[in-house]
């Protein structure tokens, strides 16, 4: 692959200084249900560079949302963080707290964590109608966020709310501030939720499928808005999505998740142009793309569906659906992360010594029978 085609200013090579704002290390979040333990997040590690965008991709049930919720410790019961660390490196800008804290070690109800939520890290959700309170005015809801985090008067809080609505491009914010969520359209509601998330000027914004419920035209507007705000406010962004198109447009780094583990991680260019993990390759091939009208061609499909979370496969979680399944290996050994370079890692046994030997053996056997 040629490196000269590396896209735009936003995909510039990662700073060698490794300025991370958030580091998740070996996170385990489990759900203790009557039917058994669901390991929704099972040893996830990822890093978010300051000012950059990390996209977390995967199908439903892969643990991407639970990973995001673990960061803020808003995982619903009976789920909880079992082990691992989530290190937040606070900037200390504008007289805020500085230093590094481990969010996973904090009590979900502690004052420190409540301070982190909305001020250091904010989150926006998929369906704005269910995330906004239907019985409070938009302005009230934003004001509440201001008053929680900042020692300001009600008038000042109101002004900040209006300012925040203006920032996200809501027309006539001084009037919209008094409206209820149901009076706004889907796109405007999503903007209002972003306004609420940004009013505390957070260092990190977590966007959980922010455009899934929206039309393509509105999606384009919202993605554009998020991008603009990010460069304007210097935020770092975690983008959770299942839409590879959105990833390609937004991300600097990508983590592909499957059944609670990170199958592959790398820069956006590595993931799309040099995918290593069979799952990443399969995902990329199974989406139809606009502009490639090939009706005669069948779509590539991944066999079966995501396994039941109560009965995870032994060995590699993807082994039951993999095209390159190696019997006796993939169903026995949990693949370790294998680094291809500084940024690119995949958990796949094909790239281990054992895997290479297995494939070599198979090739020879095939040669003999032929």
């Amino acid at each position: 692959m040629t490196d000269t085609t590396h896209g735009t200013q936003r995909t510039a090579p990662a700073a060698s200084g490794n300025d991370y704002v958030l580091e998740i290390d070996d996170l385990h979040t489990h759900f203790f249900t009557n039917e058994g333990v669901v390991k929704a997040v099972d040893g996830v590690s990822m890093k978010l560079q300051r000012g950059k965008t990390l996209a977390v991709v995967g199908e439903s049930g892969c643990g991407k949302s639970i990973t995001a919720r673990s960061i803020l410790q808003i995982v619903d019961k009976p789920g909880r963080i079992v082990s691992g660390s989530i290190k937040l490196h606070r900037s200390g800008r504008e007289g805020r707290s500085a230093g590094t804290i481990d969010l996973a070690a904090l009590d979900p109800k502690s004052k420190v964590l409540r301070d982190v939520r909305g001020k250091d890290i904010s989150m926006i959700f998929q369906e704005p109608m269910t995330s906004l309170s239907p019985v409070h005015r938009i302005g009230n809801q934003i004001r509440e966020a201001v008053l929680t985090h900042f020692d300001v008067s009600k008038e000042e809080a109101h002004e900040r709310a209006v300012e925040s609505l203006r920032l996200v491009g809501i027309p006539r914010p001084d009037r919209q501030v008094d409206r209820y969520p149901f009076q706004l359209s889907g796109g405007m509601r999503q903007r209002a939720m972003i306004a609420m998330a940004l009013v505390g000027r957070p260092d990190i914004l977590i966007a959980d499928e922010p455009t899934t419920a929206l039309d393509v035209t509105t999606q384009a507007q919202i993605l554009d808005l998020i991008r603009e705000l990010q460069s304007e406010l210097g935020m770092s962004l975690i983008m959770i999505t299942h839409d590879l198109g959105v990833v390609a447009e937004m991300a600097d780094d990508v983590a592909v998740m499957y059944l609670g583990t990170v199958a592959e991680e790398g820069t956006v260019d590595q993931i799309f142009h040099e995918p290593r993990h069979p799952y990443t390759r399969a995902l990329l091939r199974s989406v139809p793309r606009v502009g490639e009208h090939e009706r005669s061609k069948r779509l590539y499909t991944i066999a079966g569906s995501v396994p039941n979370p109560y009965s995870r496969p032994t060995g590699c979680p993807y082994s039951t659906r993999c095209d390159f399944y190696m019997d006796g290996l993939c169903n026995k050994v949990v693949p370790p992360p294998i680094a291809f370079d500084e940024t690119h890692k995949a958990r796949c046994l094909l790239y281990t010594n054992a895997g290479v030997q297995y494939m070599e053996r198979e090739r020879q056997e095939k040669g003999v029978t032929a």
């Binding site: 995909t11 039309d215 799309f272 995902l283 009208h293 779509l299």
Partner: protein, 371 residues
């Protein structure tokens, strides 16, 4: 309103001819629920569905695409217009007026596949009951053959016949959608109205269902009306595409033509809004950002309904409504300036092919394997 024949060529027989279909919903307000105007969900739509084709119906939410599907199923009684359906026996039926026994007869031949496989299957019924219900309704459940029929339907959609005794909750979204398709196929339909059939599914499962729908079409000679907002899926599966905006069809043509050279600015902006799944093409295209929002369908703008958001709008656009006209043979568009505008299609957005080269797609290369 013109009664133009919106077909691709005159010699192919349409299975369904829709002419000037209108579906208005009353808006009720006040203490006595008096009617205060109406929402024109579908406002004078004409098109043909040709036997054996897949016609795509695309547009933003609220454009009326689902209402058309439901009007065909006669979930609603249309306000006016005709829907001439050529039934299997060769007789013509107006779906807009048909009642009672005749309606039941037609509903056997036109079936629907729904969006949400979790909501469209009764959780208290086994797969056997779910699929047997339409068979019972048409008295085809006599004798011991019922189980055989259900088994073969399940096999047809790629499920194991043993699953018959299980309940929907035991299945994943993709499997449930297969059950929904099996139920639709139970009465040997000729036309399937598929309303966002893959929108609720995961990427990997979506591809399976799309392939299944295409296989079934080939095997059974089905005709599809495929309602979707996902342009990449529509491009993949549809022969022709109709683009809707505010209750009207604004463009209709063969899929490859509509994607390559749209003739209506709204289609252009829809195509341009689709994210490209290739980071190297980021910023390579000029995205046409639609300003503002879909106007209120209860109070649509005068003239061309799209003029409030159109970047090519002239004075005439706010005064005269452009009719849907044939700008090229088989290519219909409702725009005053279709002949003058050079609109960009999806093809010009993708000079390079998919990120994975064919070699990558077949094999995993083990070079550079770190030891």
């Amino acid at each position: 309103m013109s009664t133009a024949h919106v077909t691709s060529s005159p010699e192919v027989a349409p299975i369904l001819k829709i002419r000037d279909l209108k579906m208005y919903f009353p808006v009720k307000k006040g203490a006595f629920s008096r009617e205060r105007g109406e929402v024109k969900a579908v406002d004078g739509v004409s098109f043909d569905i040709i036997q054996g084709e897949t016609l795509g119906l695309v547009g933003e939410s609220g454009c009326g695409k689902t209402t058309i599907g439901r009007s065909i199923m006669r979930v609603y009684n249309p306000t006016s217009g005709t829907m001439e359906y050529r039934s299997g026996s060769g007789s013509a039926v107006d779906l807009a007026k048909v009642q009672g026994k005749d309606l039941k007869g037609v509903r056997k031949e036109i079936r629907m596949v729904f969006q949400d496989p979790h909501a469209s299957l009764n959780p208290r019924m086994t797969l056997r009951d779910i699929i047997a219900e339409p068979l019972r309704a048409y008295g085809r459940d006599k004798g011991s053959s019922l189980n055989d029929q259900i088994a073969s339907l399940l096999k047809r959609v790629g499920l194991r016949p043993e699953y018959m005794r299980r309940y929907p909750h035991a299945f994943s979204g993709g499997e449930r959608q297969r059950v929904g398709i099996a139920r639709a196929l139970a009465t040997n339909p000729r036309l399937l109205v598929a309303d966002e059939p893959v929108s609720a599914l995961d990427v990997s499962v979506r591809a399976q269902i799309i392939n299944l729908l295409r296989d079934l079409q080939g095997e059974l000679g089905l005709t599809y009306l495929f309602i979707s907002h996902d342009l990449s899926v529509v491009e993949h599966i549809c022969d022709r595409v109709a683009v809707m905006y505010l209750g009207r069809i604004v463009e209709l043509a063969e899929t490859s033509r509509i994607f390559a050279s749209p003739k209506m600015p709204y289609t252009e902006s829809l195509l341009s809004a689709v994210p490209i799944a290739d980071p190297r093409q980021r910023g390579s295209k000029t995205r046409i950002m639609l300003q503002g929002e879909l106007p209120d369908p209860a109070n649509p703008p005068a003239g061309c309904p799209f003029h409030t958001r159109c970047r090519y709008a002239q004075d005439v656009c706010s005064e005269v409504r452009p009719e849907l006209r044939e700008v090229e043979p088989g290519h219909w568009a409702a725009c005053h300036f279709s002949d003058e505008l050079e609109l960009q299609g999806a093809a010009s957005l993708h000079e390079t092919s998919s990120p994975l080269s064919p070699r990558d797609q077949r094999t995993i290369t083990q070079d550079q394997t770190p030891i």
